[in-house]
């Protein structure tokens, strides 16, 4: 009698478990796993140049041709440049601001609030503000930069990507500042006091005590920043639409254009798979790196 009742209880428990994971699993199945598989599969079919014609099965050849094509390599180069423009500067600026604001000074809260204020802006909010301020006719920044009238900064091939990067930097600085401030405040005062008693100058203290203890946060900000830059879409769409002359055509915008402007689903699918693999490698690299390289203060 008892084993039987036990078994039925086990069954009821298992049933409850399945029931509770089912909603999440269902959503993942339909909107994560299925489309991922479908993207790989769509990449095997070439989209015909005219609508209403059937897609043609071309096997892996489309992957080869797209991934070695000049437009793909160009978009990859643009993306990497965008990462280089935004991530290191963002981290350095975030640390500098956090160090600057991490002092006992009257009114420091006001500065902290200003430095973190950009977290309240979305990509779209930041982009629309800067787009209007950079307008060649009425934009204040264009006026101050001596670019009033004529070709705007966002329409200038050499300046467009740096300008988009500056907007991104500005929008992210609040987040980086908050992150770095929290990390700084978690550094035990005794460590810094000990260094002070040892006669370490403030810069030396910062370099030899603070910075090593910040390294996990720096690393985290770096990874999140790189991945975020690979996914950055809104600022490109609102500021430059990939232009001028494809100078801001980063990978994600290339996917968007291929799929929804040119209806070339085969091309877009191959590019999507490439984006997925790049981000996968970055994420896995993050775990690998985290395991071995980063200094953790708690160990001592």
């Amino acid at each position: 009698m008892i084993p039987d009742r036990n078994r039925s209880r086990k069954w009821r428990e298992a049933l409850l478990g399945y029931l509770w994971v089912l909603p999440a699993l269902g959503v993942f199945a339909v909107f994560v796993f299925y489309p991922l598989g479908k993207a790989v599969w769509l990449g095997l079919y070439r989209t015909p140049p005219f609508p209403n014609l059937a897609s043609k099965y071309v096997g892996a050849s489309q992957y080869g041709s797209v991934l070695s094509s000049a437009p793909f390599l160009h978009s990859l180069e643009r993306t990497v440049l965008f990462v280089i423009f935004t991530v290191p500067a963002g981290i350095v600026l975030g640390i500098a601001l956090a160090a600057l604001a991490n002092q006992r000074l009257a009114g420091i809260r006001v500065f902290r609030t200003v430095f973190s204020s950009t977290v309240a802006t979305s990509t779209a909010v930041a982009s629309v503000i800067f787009f209007t301020l950079l307008d060649p006719q009425v934009g204040l920044f264009s006026y101050w930069l001596g670019k009033r009238g004529g070709t705007g900064i966002l329409q200038n091939p050499t300046l467009a990507l740096p300008a988009v990067s500056v907007v991104t930097l500005w929008q992210n600085i609040g987040f980086t500042f908050i992150l770095m401030s929290a990390a700084l405040q978690s550094i035990p005062d005794e460590l810094l006091d000990a260094a002070r008693i040892d006669g370490a100058a403030s810069w030396f203290r910062f370099r030899s005590v603070t910075l090593p203890l910040l390294s996990p946060t720096v690393f985290f900000a770096g990874v999140v920043g790189i991945i975020g830059s690979f996914q950055a879409f809104g600022q490109i769409d609102l500021l430059t639409q990939g232009g001028p002359n494809n100078h801001t055509l980063v990978l994600i915008y290339y996917i968007y254009q291929a799929a929804f402007t040119n209806n070339n689903y085969g091309l877009a699918a191959v590019l999507s798979v490439a984006l997925f693999l790049i981000l996968l490698i970055l994420t896995l690299g993050q775990f690998w790196f985290l395991e071995r390289r980063v200094f953790y203060g708690r160990e001592s």
């Binding site: 699993l25 993942f28 769509l42 600057l100 204020s117 629309v128």
Partner: protein, 285 residues
């Protein structure tokens, strides 16, 4: 005994100089970072010709509040904000529910293939939404959901981050509490709602904030599955707003402020959860 002034004066002036120097640095950085928002506020209170006038007006002596009403009504910000609110709140609540239920099941309920299924959920963290937009949009069209609220909500009803975080949290609930609750005749549901959830209120707050922010700030997905104002979210509404004429720049600036306002208020209220809420996506690829 009085200290020799020549000994103390020098460090004191040095300290004063260093404090002044710090304030100058802080001030410069505050101006650079704060200026875009400051000028947005100023411009929203000016008329379009005043905004375009040179030299620029940097302080509104006669603020005009009309552009906010214009942005809210004629530029449809009111509708966009309403849509964003509906979509965001539903996503947040649903993500909390599905993540808490699944997280609890993975932590405390025994069932076959539990580990495998959990790994599948964590694997979703490796799949960025951007890589699946093409097939997902086709799915939405096939379901007949194009340009509707379900298209904006249903794909986000579950969160790998949430499941991971809540599983961690529920694993931390002491074994003794489980045993005591079972003796009191508590089943899983009662244990979850009366003990496990109340114990983890801080995490729920942080995750709710994270879920709200990510849903509110979405741009790419709403852009490709909506095409009319009736369902457009505020981020996409800003895209419409940006296309306004130069004679309505004041409305553009007012509109961006209206779009940012809910998040600003939210962050003020949830300051304590802020850091954890912002970094909850730490594991997200």
């Amino acid at each position: 005994m009085k200290a020799d002034p020549s000994v103390t004066a020098r460090p004191r002036t040095r300290r004063a100089v260093s404090v002044t120097f710090r304030y100058v640095l802080l001030g410069i950085m505050a101006v650079i970072i704060g200026f875009p928002i400051y000028i947005t506020v100023v411009n929203s209170l000016l008329s379009a010709p005043q905004i375009a006038a040179r030299p620029p007006t940097l302080f509104p002596l006669h603020p005009m509040w009309g552009s906010f009403a214009t942005a809210f009504n004629q530029a449809h910000l009111g509708i966009y904000l309403r849509n964003s609110m509906i979509v965001t709140v539903l996503i947040m609540v649903a993500e909390l529910l599905t993540s808490i239920l699944a997280g609890y099941a993975f932590a405390c309920v025994r069932f076959p293939f539990r580990r495998t299924i959990f790994m599948l959920c964590i694997a979703t963290l490796m799949v960025p939404m951007e890589a699946t937009i093409v097939p997902n949009r086709q799915t939405i069209v096939e379901l007949g959901w194009f340009n509707s609220f379900p298209a904006l909500i249903v794909p986000f009803l579950a969160s790998g981050v949430g499941i991971f975080l809540f599983r961690q949290a529920f694993l931390g609930v002491p074994r003794d509490l489980h045993d005591a609750a079972r003796l009191d005749g508590y089943g899983h549901f009662r244990f979850l709602t009366r003990i496990a959830v109340p114990l983890n209120r801080p995490l729920i707050g942080a995750f709710a904030l994270y879920a709200f922010l990510s849903a509110w700030n979405q741009y790419l997905w709403p852009l490709i599955v909506t095409e009319t104002n009736g369902v457009r979210t505020v981020q996409i509404g800003l895209r419409q707003l940006q296309a306004l004429n130069v004679d309505q720049t004041n409305v553009i600036f007012a509109g961006t402020l209206l779009a940012a306002l809910p998040i600003f208020v939210l962050l003020l209220i949830f300051q304590r959860q802020l850091v954890r809420g912002l970094t909850a996506g730490a594991l997200k690829g």
